[in-house]
Symmetry: C2
Subunit: 327 residues, 2 copies
Amino acid sequence: MSGVAPAADVLAAGGPRLAGLLERVEGRLAEASGGYGDDLAGHVAKTLAAGGKRLRPTLVFIAAGEASSAELVEAGVAVELLHMATLVHDDVLDAAALRRGKPTVFAAGGRAAATATGDLLFSRAFAVLAATGSAEAVRCLSDASTALARGELMQREDAWSATVTTERYLERCRLKTARLFEAACRLGALLGEPGPAAAPGLGGFGARIGVAFQILDDVLDVSGPTERTGKPRGTDLLDGTVTLPLILARERDPDLRELDLRSAAAGPEEVVALCDRIAATGALDDARATALDHVADGKRELDRVDLAPEQRSLLDLAADRAVERYA
Amino acid sequence: MSGVAPAADVLAAGGPRLAGLLERVEGRLAEASGGYGDDLAGHVAKTLAAGGKRLRPTLVFIAAGEASSAELVEAGVAVELLHMATLVHDDVLDAAALRRGKPTVFAAGGRAAATATGDLLFSRAFAVLAATGSAEAVRCLSDASTALARGELMQREDAWSATVTTERYLERCRLKTARLFEAACRLGALLGEPGPAAAPGLGGFGARIGVAFQILDDVLDVSGPTERTGKPRGTDLLDGTVTLPLILARERDPDLRELDLRSAAAGPEEVVALCDRIAATGALDDARATALDHVADGKRELDRVDLAPEQRSLLDLAADRAVERYA
């Protein structure tokens, strides 16, 4: 996923409440990096400080209405810690040198330190959330965590495959990305103003926005431009990750259907040419349309929930931003 | 750690209550392997079925007095799941082919599957425990999990080192092994008959027994015999793990002090000779004595707690068995 700042207009519409909650998350994340002994503390602190959009905490808070309790902050911290735990373990598996332009824990400390750091972040996520006293909240995060592990594995199983269907791709997006978006919105409902009765509706919203977000990420990987995404075009394809643009392009272009991804994405130059071929089929527009369908579905989920007009429009705005990051 | 069955006399003294609780744990562990999608389910099921002593669930139950609630079973399941999660990740880092005589998840499914399986077991541990509704219980497990990650990292940092002190070794034992023993006993107190007021005393008992258990494990690695431990002598030394027998032997034998572990433990034959040299210094008796001191300290912790005589003698018996596995 790209490392842009939170959408400025969502932040603006969220006002001082949202800004204040996100600031409290930063403070708690910094605290969470202490008390582990020197070595791990350094890795944890660097991981947390490396930033990112804090998109998942933002979802917790905008799902929570006007509430701004300590429990809500803890839920925001917990979803971010879980997200980071999975990134640290992914970087071990990918032997990745950089993330968000900084050395990964794997690069700085090696395989053992990165595995331990990820395990520690997992544990902290659940400890922080358990402190809210809500077993339902912990279960919600744990279910999401299970889904993330399955999604990550599915992605690796499907690497380089020529037979990944749109259906299987969408299932992977649900597991790998959307279930944590769903959990964030559910947690906001559970611990915030809307309450447990609103959790299914807000969770359904989060799940669909999450799929849309992942599709757009995959579109941007092919379309670029690099100056805006901050990473070379085709980075995912280089890793063998088969995403919706490639799946749709293969349906449209018989030559692409026969293509062996390992040779077509053998190096940075080849992969840019492949991105151009995918774009030439019109697959990017189709993929964007699929993302927009998910956004519309997500908004429809909100019709089931009784929300104040201000909260509804903030959620609608966040949904739009999930797919209009560089529109 | 060696793969022996639970001490028969502890099981016998625990009677039908303990046997029944452990049977319920097996059933719940089997359930916990379902619902993840086929690939992960297979790895999880094999990991759980591979057995082990179920020592940590046993500690939960004998710390709980006469209680045998569903919450207690969940706590037993949670500590076992967490223990297994760390084993699966350790096997990835060690690129280990076998555990308890069966192929590891790493060997069977590769690095990605094993990392995901470990992450999933972590998540399930917390989900299961959260279902008890006790945030204090989840915090307890999370603190232990953080300690395990730190201890594992410490062990890898100290590998092959000639300067590990007894103090640092004991701190590693506390983090890597004892904190989960402590958590098991605390959970038994919290969710069982003794209640929260008894948690510090029973937790202190578990912590000391855990250190004793680890020391004895390290003694057995050097002493063997292989026919009883089920693994070649010096297995830990071959990995560069510096344990108490070696530390004490170095204090007693100037030649050992100068020794470079990498060459002294270069292969299976060299390492057996090294084990003999360590044993010749009398270091194994000293290490055993240190373990016994911890057992005595552990029993003294129980003096702080008001326990029925039957529970007290069961705990004393379990404490003795932690260091008399092959006495």
